[in-house]
Symmetry: C2
Subunit: 211 residues, 2 copies
């Protein structure tokens, strides 16, 4: 199924939602609404996807967004675009140091197998699949997520990258404005074997505001 | 359909294949074989995809490869991996200056519409779809390609990027060794509105060699 009925929307405007540590959550945004994602305890990465509610085959794409923004890391005022090159989410506020990632795949069972944690470790790709399955939908694989608060340092000279602990502090937040009706799926990244979440996966909170 | 029958292989070992300017071509590689891709006229970008022949849902993934290589640009000795984090192609030789891109989406009809060229401009995503359709297969969207010879300069400080003409010269080549049986699809990028192919889209050649 490629469509989600808006009647299955998960959160009302103004309500504070929680994404428990290591878990995922989806939220329906109408065009113009703002999603405020709060890094409640600081140093928690949130893998974030956005899908056109009318056709899940159109989704926020990092490789298209980089070409549109002409930069690797979106900042306030930058629009992330879909694989159809339409704006889907614009960052309208960011009280964190603005360190986010667009380069790295969501963690998945293969990643944790590599790290010796076996096939049953919680993972962001699984959280995405589960969130969509809960709405009766299925996609093949996970698009590259917008990894909010993820600190991937890029050394331009050799193009080498390194994974570091987030620079965000407790209570800092990012707000994103929806350009189209969409489903956003967020995963509080369960990575506890690398510095990505400062080794302490934690809950985060979010709310949906009107324009 | 998620499988391709190897009997539909397109090129025999040692034969020189041509990818006409602005077009795409697919080639079947057995594990251990080497694909040599020759930038015949220089300054031509080749968008390259690789799919597990037994299941097209497993494919070469730039966002997984960057995490595996811990760098943005693969060099000789680096393995590109699939979305299942398995090696699929290793760069074994590169006589070009080694400037390749993993950041930017394939051009598509939406890109040319943006650039004012209308919906019918040749494009790499369309070339991929057509190559797969010719084999009786279909996928949703195009994975981010390995953009061989594409010169995308990254400024680490602000993360800004810019599209430049390739640095490769006529006759320079890249050789990639297959880790698994796979279908490789290559597109001689038809971009003639930005400096990506030095404004002169051209043919390229390739051959398949034994290990």
């Amino acid at each position: 199924m490629n469509r989600i009925e808006p009647s299955r929307a998960l959160y009302e405007e103004g309500v504070i939602g929680v994404i428990p540590a290591k878990q995922g959550k989806s939220v329906y945004l109408k065009a113009g609404q703002i999603l405020k994602l709060i890094n409640t305890h600081g140093s928690q990465v949130v893998d974030t996807w956005a899908f056109n509610i009318a056709d899940l085959r159109e989704f926020m794409s990092m490789e298209h967004s980089r070409a549109s923004m002409m930069k690797i890391t979106p900042a306030v005022g930058d629009a992330l675009v879909t694989n159809h090159r339409r704006p889907i989410l614009t960052i309208v506020e960011d009280t964190s140091p603005g360190v986010h990632d667009t380069l790295i795949a969501a963690c998945d069972r293969y990643r944790y197998e590599e790290l010796g944690a076996g096939p049953h470790h919680e993972n962001c790709s699984g959280n995405l699949s589960r969130a969509l399955a809960d709405l009766g939908c299925q996609i093949v694989g996970a698009p590259c997520p917008l990894n909010l608060f993820m600190n991937v340092n890029v050394n331009a000279r050799g193009g080498h990258i390194e994974f570091l602990a987030p620079l965000s502090k407790a209570g800092q937040y990012v707000s994103l404005r929806a350009h189209i009706d969409q489903l956003v799926v967020m995963s509080a990244c369960p990575q506890d074997l690398t510095p990505v979440n400062a080794l302490r996966p934690a809950e985060v909170h979010f709310t949906v505001l009107s324009k």
